[in-house]
Structures are given as structure tokens and as C-alpha cells.
Symmetry: C2
Subunit: 426 residues, 2 copies
């Protein structure tokens, strides 16, 4: 059972509900929408990401022999359920905001229209994929805005939450404007530029820092970024500047990065290394980077690790996947503090004369509004429509970031009326 | 390239360092230790977890044809490097704290002793695996302490950071004392009990809550936990109590859980459902659970989701994997604010007469101290030694939690002297 694509990668309750739906032949069309109820502190906007992987999942969704054997032996289900699951495929439609689209609270970013069991089963993994990449892309875009014109590299695999998190974080960060990642596998897998040079252990393993730098420069002629803070950043920078061959740059990883970067720049320039870059890393996030940029620290590129891949200040979003319509009737829950807007919805986005965000309107699908329609078809009859790809998503995100600040988001009267109708009915 | 086990699931700098090490034939024995420099706020202790997966990784570590083809074409490396990598296997030793061991700042929990290239390459994925499970096990243990005698179920796959995070969080939470998970795949994969009943969408898809409950109870006779808060928790509980058949319980997922659980208990008892449980979920963490328990809310079991699987209040630890010794000489870095204790270390744990934690001593390996030795052999010559398994780790964690509060942690004089020696040398 492939842990990344198994049909059992879901909550058990999806399966218990499926058994009940099949028993009652409740297989009419259901419409679910994925949206974020509230933005966390520190996020002025979110960036839609993860659609590509969500479509992969839906196209590949099936119960294989091992999954079916577990269904039969686990004791949770009735005889005959496994046979029904064996035939299950995702045959529905998906509408979604293209990856890289900026969005706000209560705006659906993905809509699934499919026979109830298929649409229900997919909830857990769809959320798992879209939520996480959206978390990281949103964080990365805020870092991007803090560092205009600077290089940004994802350094976060080691403290990402598992392998898939590390890989998808590299993708989401690149989508949102990072220049690349340290995660080697992201290059063959997603075509993302990869960067990396040396760790402190490399310096420590040598008899001296001078020897370590000389060996590394010999191994990577013209391409060595030397890590200078193992013992003393200034002395290390002097040794780097004196290392034979062309120096690509130095990396500072601790201490007062503002002061150290100025001194490092002076040492490099004085030694004739005017092209060499100053790279900074070490517990960086958008606030620290913004402070360094504002102070005018001569840092060319930043490595951002843990705070990016765990989105440490907001490691989750209030993202949900909610039933909006079943068998032609709009639905919603009214749980205390958790009521949602019902029905099959659309988001229209209006720009001002300068191309900036002016107004988003959320309404029922057929209540056409002014502006660009944000939810567009992504899958029909279980087959994906051609997707624009990661570079296109990255360009879309970049162009959207230039349209900030955030628009006002309005709920259209037609949607408010529908909510009242639904509440009266149930 | 399997995203969970590819040898390219590492930082590019591990590979650039390897090329330099091979060029200089620096393949002597290196000793790296994995430890946490500082505990985050909200953690009185940490729980070691993830060793099983770390050993899997090391046993399977190799560059396959696709990885080698990428190494050759990517442009980062010299000709001949791929051929050297093709022969690389992990041939070293691992010592580690058994999973489920409680530990504290500066105590190594895993030590790798291997030829430098093997030990260096493994850094990223070892940290990625051990860090994340330790993050979640530590969080879960704090939740466990907040809810003595209560059922605890992991509900967090949907907002975990990817699939591997969801699966490994289920494992880490169970290890630390949870009773099970909603993640179906965790059952066949780790033998963890799985739980789950219904979502709000199930209720909403029906013409009425009464019909939804009746259908679900028919599908799961004697085993239905009914979700009662879709429209109104009290009315929902009354309808659940009136549903034909034996009721296993009701689930509250919103609102004032203290007040609602008391009212739900009264309704269930009055209807003769004295065995039926009250299950609570919805944005729970250890603080909210502790408050509900302290108030005496009659809740039998809690579902804990996002706050558990993202460890929302502390989504990462200051976990590092540092070179301690190379070619027989102890090493350490002295970077500002990041200096570490050098050398090959051991942790000894002393209990008091009542079996409680009294004192931990961290020293160099041969400087024997009083108490239990915590780092024990886990792998020799690249093959794992028999591991006690998940149930044993769970029992170990439970017994260790009974020995709290935390001991004082001492750095032995011999280790302090070694640090001074190392600094004088470099």
C-alpha cells in the first residue's frame, strides 16, 4: 500500500459513511467546496496551491487488492462492502482557482462535483494536499514580499513534517516566488533549481578552516559558497577571501547578520571579490528578513528553513471541505460558530484602473458578477484538463502579489438569500 | 524515485560535501549525534520517537539508476562522482534511546558512527524522520497527561503536513499514549486501532437528522457514534437517544463542550443509554482538555486533530545532527549562540527511591556514571538489531510519564574538560 496514494489514506469515517451511502443507494451528485474560514494572524492573503497533486490523487483513486483485503478483515464493515469499493473510481468534476491565485476567507478554491461516495471519500487527502501547499505557499509569498530583489532558497527539509512535506514545501515555496531549494529530489521531481554547498561538519572534519575551504574550492572550482561561521565569522570570511580560485560567495549562519554582512562585504570587496555574494541563513523568517532589508544589510540571498516548511507562526489554516449541495438541493451546517455559506458558488474578482485588487464577490454560481471568474474547470469525468504547470503558477502568483493590498470581499445578496432558504427547509 | 526513500531526499549540500570528501579520501569514521538544543515553551520533556523509520532508511539507503542519472546530468558534480555513489551503502553503527524514552535538552537521542560520507549523507532524512515523530510524540504525551483515564483519538490527517506526516503522527501519538487514530491506513501499516463514524455532510445529505441517524445505525448496528451538532447539539442528542438499536455514543463537535456534555449525559441516561459514551472534538488541545477534565465534564473520549498532528504551539524543535568526532578526534563548532558539547557521549539516568526521575548525567561515553544507560545499540555494520516494537515503546513511554517531574540534567566534568581541549586545539 503506497503511503502517498493508497485509498486507505483517509479517515475511517469516510469509509463508514460510504457503507451507509451504498446501503441506502445515496449516490446522487454531491457538491463539496474547499475553503478557509478565517485567515490566521500574520497572513494578509493566502496563495492557492496543491491542485496538481490533488488531480493526481483523484485520477489514481482506487482500492487495490491489499486495501480490499484489509477492508474485509478489519472487522469494521459488512460483507459485500469491499466488492463495492473495488469498482469505485473518481468520475466527477473539479473546478478550482489556478495555482498561484491569491485568495481570502470564505472564498472556495476547489469544488468537487461527483456521486456522493466519490466526493466524500476524497475529502481527507484533498484537504491534506491542498491545505499544506497553501499553508507553505502563503508563508513563502509573505517572505517574498519582505525581500524584494533578494535571492530566497528553501532550506527546510530536515525539520519539515516528513518527506512529502519537505518535497511539497519546496514546490509551494518556488510557486510563491522562492528561487529554489536545497532539497535535491525537488529538481528531478518538479524541475526546481537546487542550491547547496557545505555544513559546519565539513569545516570541523578538517584540521583547519583553511584546509576545508581549499578542499571545497578544489572540488567546486568557480562555484564555492563557503560557510564562514564555524569558529568566527569575520576570520572565516578573511580565510574565504584568501582561498585560491574564484569565490562564488560566503554564507553567514549565526550572530548579528546585519553587522557581519557589512564587514563581510568590506572584506570581500577589499580582496577583489566584488562579484562574490553574501548569503545569510539561521532562524530567518519574514520579520527578520524585513528588518535586515530595511537596515540595508548587504545580503544578496537568504536561506529560509524551518519557519518556511513548518509555517511556524501559522502551521495550519482553518481549511474545510464542506457539502454544499446534494441531489440538487443546497445544504449547510449551522453548528455553533461554524455555519458556512451553502450552495454551488463562484468568486468574481474586480480590479481597479491601476490593475490592483478592488473587490471580490462570492455568490451562487449562476449569479454572474463583474470581473474575472476565479473557479475554472480542472477535471471532467474523472480526467484532468491540461494544467498550466508550475512556472505558470509561479508567474500568476508574482503578478497577483503586485495587485495587493487585499480587496474587500463581499457576499452577494443571492447567496445570503440561499442561506436563509436552506435554514428554513431543514 | 520513491519520494519517501530516494537517496536524493537530502540537502544538495550533503552531496557537494560527499564529492569533496571522496576527492580527498576523507572516509574515516565520523560520529554524529542528534539532539535538541532547547525545549520550546509548553514542553516539560520530549519523547524520543522515529527510530524504527530511521533504521529502515539507513538499511535501504542507496542510489538507484534514476538517482545516478540525475547526478550525472544535473551539472552540479564532476564525472566519476555517480560511480562512487553507486557503491555507497550505510555500513555503520547506530546507538539510540529506545522509542518512548523521555529526554531533555542537550541529551543525544541518536548517535551515528560510520565512514564520513555515509554518516553525512544521512543527516537530512534522519533529522526529518526523528524530529517530526519526536515533535508529535512529545505533544501527544502532554495531551495524555491532561486527560488521565480518558480515551484519546488522533483526528489530524486532513491538516497534517502531507501524507507521511499524517501517518507518522498517528504512530507517534499512539506511541505516546493515544488510544488510536482516525487514519485508516495506520491500521494495516502500524497495527494501530482505528476509529471513525460520520461527518456533518452525512447528516446534511439526508432529508432530516432523524433519517441520517436511522440509516447510520442500520449500517452499523450496535456500533454507531452519532454526530449530534449539525443543527443543534441538544436536539441532536435527543434524536440520537431515540434512534432504534443500541447507541454506542454521541459526538459533540462545537459549542460549550462542558455544558453540552452534561446535558448530553443526562439525556442519554434518562433514555436508558447508560453505556453510551460522550465523545468530544473540535479545536481541542491539552489546555482545553485539561480545563474540561478539571471542570468535571462527563466526556469519555476526545478527538484531537490539527493541534496534535501539526503540534501547533510548537511545530518544530531545535533538533540538530552534529559532528562530534572525526578520525578519532572530538569536534565541535563555536558559532555564536550555537556552540555544542563535543565528543561521543552517553546519558545516564538515575531514579529516586520512589522510582521518579532524579538526575540525568551527560558525559563522554567512557566516563561511566550512576544509573541506566540511555543510548543503546540499535544497528551494527548497517543491519538493525531487533527492535522492541511499537507496543513496547508505548509501554515504555507510559512508565516514564509516571516518573515525572523532570530530573535535573548535569553535564559531567569530563565533558566540560573535553570541550575546553577541543577549543584549544582548533
Amino acid at each position: 500500500m503506497d503511503p502517498l496514494s493508497s485509498a486507505l489514506l483517509t479517515d475511517l469515517y469516510q469509509l463508514t459513511m460510504l457503507q451507509a451511502y451504498y446501503e441506502q443507494e445515496m449516490t446522487d451528485t454531491a457538491v463539496f467546496e474547499l475553503f478557509v474560514r478565517k485567515l490566521p494572524p500574520g497572513r494578509q492573503f493566502l496563495v492557492a496551491a496543491g491542485l496538481e497533486q490533488a488531480l493526481d490523487y483523484l485520477e489514481g483513486l482506487r482500492f487495490g487488492p491489499e486495501e480490499l483485503a484489509w477492508i474485509e478483515r478489519c472487522g469494521h464493515f459488512k460483507p459485500g462492502f469491499a466488492a463495492r469499493l473495488e469498482r469505485l473510481r473518481f468520475t466527477g468534476e473539479v473546478h478550482a482557482m489556478p495555482e498561484g491565485t491569491l485568495f481570502f476567507a470564505d472564498e472556495p478554491i476547489l469544488r468537487v462535483t461527483a456521486p456522493m461516495p466519490e466526493a466524500q471519500l476524497a475529502e481527507t487527502r484533498l484537504l491534506n494536499l491542498v491545505h499544506f501547499q497553501t499553508v507553505v505557499a502563503s508563508k513563502a509569498a509573505h517572505v517574498r514580499l519582505a525581500a524584494p530583489g533578494k535571492g530566497l532558497i528553501d532550506f527546510g527539509l530536515r525539520r519539515a513534517h516528513g518527506a512529502e512535506a519537505g518535497l511539497l514545501a519546496a514546490r509551494a515555496a518556488y510557486l510563491a516566488g522562492f528561487d529554489g531549494t536545497a532539497t535535491a529530489l525537488a529538481a528531478p521531481r518538479f524541475g526546481i533549481p537546487v542550491f547547496g554547498t557545505m555544513a559546519h561538519s565539513f569545516v570541523e572534519a578538517h584540521a583547519s578552516e583553511v584546509a576545508a575551504f581549499a578542499h571545497f574550492a578544489a572540488a567546486f572550482p568557480d562555484n564555492a559558497v563557503l560557510l564562514v561561521d564555524t569558529y568566527d565569522s569575520i576570520e572565516g570570511t578573511r580565510r574565504a577571501a584568501a582561498t585560491p580560485g574564484r569565490l562564488k560567495g560566503v554564507r553567514l549562519d549565526s550572530g548579528d547578520l546585519d553587522a557581519l554582512s557589512r564587514e563581510a562585504r568590506r572584506i570581500l570587496d577589499a580582496a577583489g571579490h566584488r562579484e562574490a555574494i553574501v548569503f545569510a541563513s539561521g532562524n530567518l523568517d519574514e520579520a527578520r528578513i524585513a528588518a535586515l532589508v530595511a537596515a540595508g544589510a548587504p545580503i544578496d540571498s537568504f536561506g529560509v528553513g524551518t519557519s518556511l516548511t513548518t509555517s511556524a507562526d501559522a502551521p495550519y489554516l482553518d481549511a474545510v471541505y464542506k457539502l454544499q449541495e446534494y441531489a440538487g438541493l443546497a445544504r449547510r451546517k449551522r453548528s455553533a460558530g461554524k455555519a458556512t455559506w451553502p450552495g454551488r458558488k463562484q468568486v468574481w474578482r474586480e480590479l481597479d484602473a491601476a490593475g490592483r485588487f478592488a473587490r471580490d464577490v462570492v455568490s451562487v454560481e449562476r449569479d454572474a458578477q463583474v470581473g474575472e471568474v476565479l473557479l475554472v474547470p480542472a477535471m471532467r469525468a474523472g480526467r484532468r484538463l491540461p494544467q498550466p504547470g508550475l512556472e505558470h503558477a509561479r508567474a500568476r502568483c508574482r503578478s497577483q502579489l503586485a495587485r495587493l493590498p487585499a480587496p474587500r470581499v463581499e457576499i452577494a445578496p443571492a447567496l445570503r438569500r440561499l442561506a436563509e432558504d436552506v435554514d428554513r427547509r431543514s
